[in-house]
């Protein structure tokens, strides 16, 4: 039913847009709508309904004692989908807050499996499981460090699986924040050489983590004239409509993929207002970053939202902490958790410098001169400024494929984009 309704909305929108005979036919021209709705399933490539995969666990830091409040996090978990014959292995890194089983990750898992790859799906360094079990500092957001954490996990995963699969060569990709991380991981691999990635595809990355986060922080307030105070009620209204879904109640995941799915189903009949779409995008980002703030704060005993030295028990109420963290932006996280941590180690570090390091600019030279790295981006990506888009075009040159529209990751599942991805790796 849902695909059909989405298709209805699509025809409606395509009619409004009224463009024909353009080279690129992804139908959603509004970047906000594209970001939330994504690609209607009729316009996605045909993929198997279900594929087999193994869930595998790694103990990354054997000495680490995980606090009681995260009693259900014991090991780092990832998935492996494998071919029965020798094949290339691709690592896929999830976007902000997302886990290896989020719907976009399952999508990529199927795409690459169907194309003949072994696939390892990795949760984002900003996800709770990664922060608690696989992040050395438990403070994600410093891409250099996150890339080191990812690399460590990838090496351990490879050790774990190499007995059961035959691998011809290695590939790497990631979307959104995972895209930027893929670029840094690739650079790290040039030095360490564990994989010698044959090709690396960076999909819809931020250029500067800080400025993209700032844009998303701001978006939350678009439909909240009274400011953050109105957020609870705005969100409650969305949630009321949520009651309609029996089937989605089964699988609850707090990730952008999932919440966008819910939201676009709620608004399937009417075209949502742009400010509501913006607030929804901001909401999804805020929830991911809140999960991160709380988890990092507990793990590092920083005393930002949870009293310092307070040991939370497995059954303690977290509702008040949930409310406190929901007032914090990603930018607050940067200033109150991430930056102070590095400042304590390097007293001469300034905020400006830290922000500068945390961006693709920092590895510009590598990106410019590495023929193995390709980029997929959108002209109207909401998390990029026009300067960012110009930077990407300039740096990646002929290795950049910039689509005229698609918002942030909206067209990532569109069949033409997927064909381009597979072509990139094939050639």
């Amino acid at each position: 039913m849902k695909p059909l309704l989405r298709f209805g909305l699509l025809i409606l929108l395509a009619g409004v847009a009224g463009q024909s005979a353009v080279a690129y036919d992804y139908p959603l021209k509004d970047p906000y709508l594209a970001t939330v709705i994504g690609t209607p399933s009729e316009l996605q490539p045909k993929l198997p309904d279900k594929i087999d995969y193994a869930l595998l666990d790694l103990t990354v830091f054997p000495e680490r004692k995980i606090p009681d409040v995260f009693y259900y996090q014991s090991q780092f978990r990832y998935s492996l989908t494998y071919q029965k014959v020798e094949a290339p292995l691709i690592f896929v890194i999830a976007g902000t807050g997302a886990n290896f089983y989020s719907s976009n990750m399952i999508f990529f898992q199927k795409v690459f499996y169907q194309a003949g790859y072994h696939v390892i799906c990795l949760s984002s360094p900003t996800s709770m499981n990664f922060i608690t079990t696989a992040s050395r500092t438990s403070l994600p957001g410093n891409i250099l460090e996150d890339a080191r954490d990812l690399y460590r996990v990838m090496e351990l995963a490879w050790q774990q699986v190499k007995g059961r699969i035959k691998v011809s060569e290695f590939y790497l990709t990631g979307y959104s924040l995972g895209g930027a991380e893929a670029a840094f991981v690739s650079k790290l691999d040039e030095e360490r050489g564990s994989f010698n990635f044959k090709k690396v595809l960076v999909i819809n990355p931020p250029v500067s983590l800080y400025s993209s986060a700032k844009i998303l922080d701001q978006m939350l307030l678009a439909a909240l004239p009274g400011g953050l105070r109105d957020w609870g009620q705005w969100f409650n209204r969305i949630l009321e409509a949520f009651g309609e879904f029996y089937e989605t109640m089964g699988r609850i995941e707090i990730s952008q993929d999932y919440l966008y799915d819910v939201y676009s189903t709620i608004y399937r009949d009417k075209e949502p207002k742009r400010e509501n779409l913006a607030t929804m995008i901001g909401t999804v980002f805020r929830i991911s970053s809140n999960n991160m703030v709380f988890t990092s704060d507990v793990m590092t005993n920083a005393g930002v939202v949870v009293p310092k030295n307070l040991e939370l028990g497995a059954a303690d109420s977290l509702y008040d902490y949930f409310r406190v963290t929901s007032t914090m932006t990603f930018v607050d996280y940067f200033h109150e958790l991430l930056f102070p941590f590095y400042k304590a180690k390097q007293p001469q570090l300034t905020e400006q410098r830290a922000i500068q390091i945390d961006s693709m600019h920092h590895i510009e030279n590598y990106l410019r001169t590495s023929p193995k790295i390709g980029l997929m981006g959108n002209e109207d990506d909401l998390i990029l400024s026009p300067e960012d888009v110009a930077f990407l075009k300039d740096v990646f040159g002929s290795r950049a494929r910039i689509y005229p529209h698609g918002g942030h990751c909206g067209n990532m599942n569109y069949k033409e984009n997927v064909a381009d991805m597979l072509n990139f790796f094939r050639n």
Partner: protein, 257 residues
């Protein structure tokens, strides 16, 4: 079997509650930089607020349920799914769903939802006969009469009874005081009906008892098989809060429709 499980459950729960003594603190506790916002906002207007005065107990039952799910329920369901072909699983689901239609019918009538009652009556008639005792859902697939979902909790809600405090039931999961009352009524009616049906088979007492508990166990596995929820998959440290809100939003929706 069930008689043995229930006391065990309570012992496990009691141990879990008993273990909840505050951990010994080593270092002095320093207040957090950020403290509670929106002190002046009425609780109902806070995002994700649900009335939950028994939260400490509920949270422990939630933890228990997750463990029960991992070590008992899901292994059984996985074995069940591994052994039986999908067609048989669907037939079993249809069979149990058909038995609960009587509750849908009664509760639709109690709420004067005549269309739902007529549809449900039609479904029972079609599926119990053409659908071979409920094994095939002919009503949905051939006649296009979709299944309604009315229970006694919703009936109580229809007559203006509020949900009351949030309650996490052992094994059953998220509920509230009103719906728990409803569940008891529905279960008693269902159990009575099952016994009547089994009584018609002309078996001896031991056989009847065995069949009754066998069907009850199978129905529990079928229920879990149909539910795709997995604990700790939200990826959020606030999962309890999120599940609490979403489950109650869903119940409210069902009461209103």
């Amino acid at each position: 079997m069930k008689r043995a499980i229930i006391p065990t459950l309570f012992i496990v729960l009691a141990v879990m509650v008993g273990c909840a003594a505050a951990p010994v603190q080593q270092e002095p506790i320093i207040p957090a930089k950020h403290t509670l916002p929106e002190q002046d906002i009425p609780s109902e207007q806070q995002g994700f607020y649900v009335y939950d005065p028994w939260e400490p107990l509920n949270r422990r039952i939630y933890i228990f349920n997750a463990a029960f799910d991992e070590y008992v329920f899901l292994p059984l369901v996985n074995a069940y799914e591994f052994i039986l072909p999908d067609v048989v699983e669907d037939a079993i689901s249809n069979f149990f769903k058909n038995l609960t239609e009587l509750s849908n019918l009664m509760n639709s009538l109690l709420q004067f939802k005549i269309v739902k009652a007529v549809n449900t009556f039609g479904r029972i008639a079609i599926n119990s006969t053409v659908g071979i005792g409920g094994l095939i859902d002919v009503a949905t697939h051939v006649d296009g009469i979709k299944r309604e979902n009315e229970d006694f909790g919703q009936t109580l809600g229809f007559y203006g009874l509020g949900p009351g405090p949030y309650l996490v039931l052992p094994i059953f999961g998220p509920s509230n005081l009103r719906d728990t009352g409803g569940l008891v009524v529905d279960s008693v009616a269902y159990g009575f009906m099952m016994q009547q049906l089994i009584g018609k088979l002309g078996m001896n007492d031991t056989g009847e008892e065995a069949l009754y508990w066998g069907l009850t166990g199978l129905s529990a596995i079928d229920q879990r098989h149909l539910q795709s929820f997995r604990y700790y998959m939200t990826g959020s440290p606030f999962e309890y809060t999120l599940v609490r809100k979403l489950s109650q939003v869903r119940r409210q929706f069902l009461v209103e429709h």
